[in-house]
Amino acid sequence: MLFFGTIGMLALTIGLIVFIIFHQRKVIRYQLRLQRMEQDQQKLLLNASIRLQEEERQRIAADLHDDAGPLLATARLYLNENLVNLDKTTQLQSIYNAKSIIDDTIQLIRNISHSLMPPTLKNFGLESAVNDLFQKISGSGSMNASSRFHDYRERLQAENELIIFRVIQELVNNILKHSNASFIHLTQNTSGNKFFIRLHHDGRGITQNDFIKLNKSNVGLGLKNIQSRLKVLHGKIFFEKDMSQTYYKVTIELVKEEEDKLQEQE
């Protein structure tokens, strides 16, 4: 009994030690795999953000090259003609033409600059910028868009407002492009230290599972961009179908304290 008891206890102890060591190695391998998956995901997000930046640059370059360039070249031609042609009436006519072309160019550059940073957002905040965007969409007649901010007395930090606005723009763009919806409705409210923005639409949408799948794949550049932007604010996004199964709902959740912290860091 003594012999078997001692051997049994020893076997149990050695078994326990071996189990602990192997279990720990297994856990470490699992953590490592998770870490790698996270890194891959971040790489995807980074690539998406770089690609989007490049696309934006190309768009601005194309706008400047294709629109502003020829306009300015034409204005130059008119002014050149002014130097060659000494006839007063022709000179006035060509100056007038050059002026109107320069006005067009100014408008074009203003449009480009507004697309980079909407002045309404900068001057009047997120609420006004979103209302402005939704009025433009409604004005086009293709869709009924409305927004309502319930609790936005204090503006968020300007950079954060821009990030949220870009996310809303991206979501609205997706709805316009893919959903075939007849309306979009945006609401904002707060609960405790949380800040929520909800978008409803009645078209075809995606759920959280689709969002996760698209984020892991190489497609869905816009969604990855949303994800990477929200990551900066430590925000969350949820895609779901309404309880009534009629509407799709997107909820953006931000922690206000995070916003304050970011402000303090700066």
Binding site: G5, T6, L10, L12, T13, L16, I21, I28, L32, Q35
Partner: protein, 218 residues
């Protein structure tokens, strides 16, 4: 022969602690150092004929001291409050039983009840400690911790001697001589593991990152 090796192996952890004092001055390792000294002195005292004649008191007293020191070391090492409370409650029960067996004057040469109870309780605390260690995701490699090797030393020594202590009172002197070798062998292993622990650098996590560790390994 084995008896002598076991006796002299008791000096090794004392020397290791002194030699690597800087590595061991924090973290409660002095408790194990103190235990090693007391253990060595108890073994030395056993050579004295007068003390040998009163060996019941010597062993019973040493069981209480050994339990107190190991339990205190584990109390310092445990993280969860509920485990610490359990240790304190079990310790109170142990002291009651151990004192009762001394006062009851059932003076056999070895206090089997206290010693086996001590071994069982310390095994339990050691398992709780190891459970905490594998549960904590911040601990990357448990075997790089000095405390891990000390707890393993307890665990091996106590689990191998538990049945020996339970049956100790039933042994004839011939059986006692032949079986006591088990105690000596695991006493040597325990002392060697203490030396390993005292010689290790402070709970150092790997310098290389996890990723490098596994990519190099594979």
């Amino acid at each position: 022969m084995l008896n002598s090796i076991s006796y002299f192996s008791g000096v090794l952890p004392i020397l290791a602690f002194i030699l690597f004092y800087k590595r061991n001055k924090v973290g409660g390792y002095w408790v194990i150092f103190l235990y090693s000294i007391l253990s060595f002195l108890t073994d030395t005292g056993y050579w004295n004929p007068w003390i040998k004649a009163h060996s019941f008191y010597l062993f019973s007293g040493f069981t209480i001291v050994e339990y107190s020191l190991f339990a205190y070391f584990l109390y310092l090492s445990l993280l969860e409050r509920k485990f610490k409370i359990l240790l304190v409650i079990c310790s109170a029960l142990f002291y009651l039983i151990a004192l009762f067996t001394i006062v009851a004057k059932n003076r056999e040469s070895f206090d089997s009840l206290s010693a086996s109870l001590e071994a069982s309780l310390l095994i339990l605390y050691s398992i709780l400690y190891l459970y905490e260690q594998i549960k904590d995701p911040a601990i990357l490699f448990v075997y790089q911790s000095k405390k891990f090797w000390i707890v393993i030393a307890f665990l091996l020594y106590l689990s191998s001697t538990l049945f020996l202590f339970i049956y100790a009172t039933t042994f004839s002197s011939q059986q006692h001589k032949s079986y006591w070798g088990i105690n000596n062998i695991f006493d040597i292993i325990k002392n060697l593991l203490f030396v390993v622990s005292f010689g290790m650098k402070k709970n150092k996590q790997p310098e290389q990152s996890l990723e490098n560790f596994y990519s190099e390994e594979s």
